[in-house]
């Protein structure tokens, strides 16, 4: 279990975390939601021992962060939002390097490789991988030390829906292995799809911690909204419009919707995954800022 009590951290005059307290159950997938600048990254950095808190306590599996930082680091792993590996090295060279500095066993090395399906691109230079493969390499590196808790900081940014779903399925699989997952994302439906519990942070404070079931009613996790440029013929295409330029669809129908838009020369500006219910709840709590 991860127990955070009255955690505070300031950068100059700015309070990044303000007396934040929360608990994360062992073996759960825990979602962390908040607008940009809410304090999510600072919290993840403190939980990983990268940043030292100004006040408050963090206990990871009973170990106090102030006294057992090294041990806690060995038990945990962070999958950063940025691709934290070496683009000029091959997949194998990257994995070998990170494995050696953590004294990873062959068993864990092979598992990290297999879980993320990287066997076929082992000798490929990391810079030449597709967006999804790069994300998977980023995740694989984080699994090499066989962590008990993994922190995912928006791991699906900028990748295609297929790779995204594969990654989400992989993360869901960690729960079966007893690994605790802390997950931050801008995509509400990802949080809904994989998390057991969610904490919403605003201005460095915890504003709500609850299970997904309690946070959302009329759960509709495969809803997708497609934002397009204004087009006169949009209404005649037979799509469901929520605003003049937003189409409501489902994840299973996304490809056919995109195909239809392409056929009719409608330019897609943005695709938003997520149930409107969690999003609505989030907006109510945070006052309508962007996630």
């Amino acid at each position: 279990m991860i127990k955070i009590t009255n955690l505070s951290k300031s950068y100059g005059e700015t309070k990044a975390l303000d007396n934040l307290s929360l608990e994360i159950k062992e073996g759960s997938i825990f979602g962390l939601l908040g607008v940009n600048g809410a304090g999510k990254t600072t919290l993840l950095s403190i939980l990983n021992g990268l940043v030292v808190q100004d006040g408050g306590d963090v206990k990871v599996f009973g170990l106090d962060m102030k006294r057992h930082k090294k041990e806690i680091k060995a038990l945990s792993s962070i999958i950063p939002q940025h691709l934290a590996f070496y683009e000029n090295l091959s997949v194998k060279e990257n994995l070998d390097f990170f494995a050696k500095i953590q004294n990873a066993t062959k068993e864990h090395y092979d598992k990290a490789l297999e879980v993320n399906s990287l066997q076929t691109v082992l000798n490929q230079k990391a810079s030449t991988l597709s967006g999804g493969q790069k994300r998977r390499l980023n995740i694989s590196i984080g699994l090499l030390n066989n962590p008990k808790v993994i922190y995912f900081d928006e791991p699906t940014v900028g990748i295609d829906p297929k790779s995204r779903n594969e990654i989400l399925d992989t993360i869901k699989g960690y729960k079966k292995l007893g690994v605790t997952v802390v997950y931050t994302s801008h995509y509400m439906n990802e949080i809904e799809k994989i998390c057991d519990e969610v904490a919403i942070i605003s201005h460095g404070r915890l504003v709500e911690q609850n299970s997904i079931e309690n946070l959302t009613t009329n759960r509709n996790s495969d809803a997708v909204s497609v934002e397009v440029a204004y087009a006169e013929n949009l209404k005649t295409l037979g799509v469901e419009l929520t605003t003049e330029t937003t189409i409501a669809t489902k994840e299973s129908e996304l490809f056919s919707t995109l195909e239809l838009l392409k056929k009719n020369n409608v330019f897609v500006k943005r695709i938003n995954y997520g149930s409107s219910d969690l999003e609505k709840r989030f907006l109510e709590i945070t006052g309508g800022d962007d996630v």
Binding site: Y11, T41, T42, S45, N48, G49, L50, V51, V52, K70, K73, A74, S76, S77, I78, P80, Q81, H82, L83, A84, F85, Y86, E87, N88, L89, E93, D96, F97, F98, K100, I101, Q102, N103, I141, N145
Partner: protein, 356 residues
Amino acid sequence: MFRAMIKKEFLLVFRDKHALLALFVMPAVFILIMSVAMRDQFTSKNIEFSLYANDMDKSQASERFIANLKADEKLRLQEKEEGAQFVLSVPKNYSKEPASQITINVKESIKSDQLEVFKSMLLARLLGEKFEAKQSLFTVEYDNSSKIPNSTQQSVPAWIVFGMFFIIIPMSTIYVNERKQNTLARLNSMNVSVFAMSVSKSVPYLVVNQIQVFIMLGVGMFLVPLFDTPALEINGSFMALGGISLALSFAAIGVSSLIAVSASSSEQATTIGGILNILLGAIGGVMVPKFIMPESMRTLAEFSPMSWGLDGFMDIFLKSADLNMILGDASKLVAFGLVSLALSMLILRIRINRGL
């Protein structure tokens, strides 16, 4: 862990083609160009003047004087005035009044110091004639401490020193990329200490610097002579050579680390590093040899680590220095490197604590 970190750094450095170009090709080309271009400026043997003598006296004395000039291998006496650097006019009453003035007409633009050399050569001839000397009046002997280098002896160490400090380019690029892509934070989350990060980065650059020295010495010894320029001769001990190049490398790694961890982008690091290199090189005697600098500039040069390295190399090439002789310069370089490296570790520690 160290082995893996060092191996990673080696792979990254040797895959950075632009950095390799700056580290190995740039100084080699500089050595070649500067050694050949400055050959005549540094070598007194090659000083030669062409002149035309206009004997208006036509006396025995004036003819003897001109014949004497002909005997000097560094004075090329021409039959015609055209193309000569100087025209000497021996006055009509030369034989009767030996104190009468010989006029030197300078026909093409020539540096004032060369004119002085020419005048000295004439004076030596006149004096020799007066004392009926059978050989040159002067022999020049250099004291060990006052030897001046030839163009190769100046260029090779100068551009070795300059090139070694160019490790700032790959080092800062890799450091900044690691910081921006959160790889350093990731390594830190994997319990890799700042000390381990810094030291593991230093080892490959120490090797890169030694390869640079080896190649540049090779250019000076074997390539430069192909262009009718003196070859580099290593007169001092090889232990001293190894000592000074390791110490210099230490200083270069220290200052490069300091810039790399302080800069917020690789562009900033390479700009600051480039400017600093050029400034240290300019005051340190890389671009302008220290022995032709005025006293005030020579004093300023003592503050440049490049100057300490250059002095060490010069002592080995010119004064047959052993390890003891270069110990002073080497100690200053190691101390400079240690302080810079310690500062860079401190800055990196602070940056990591602040979330980079």
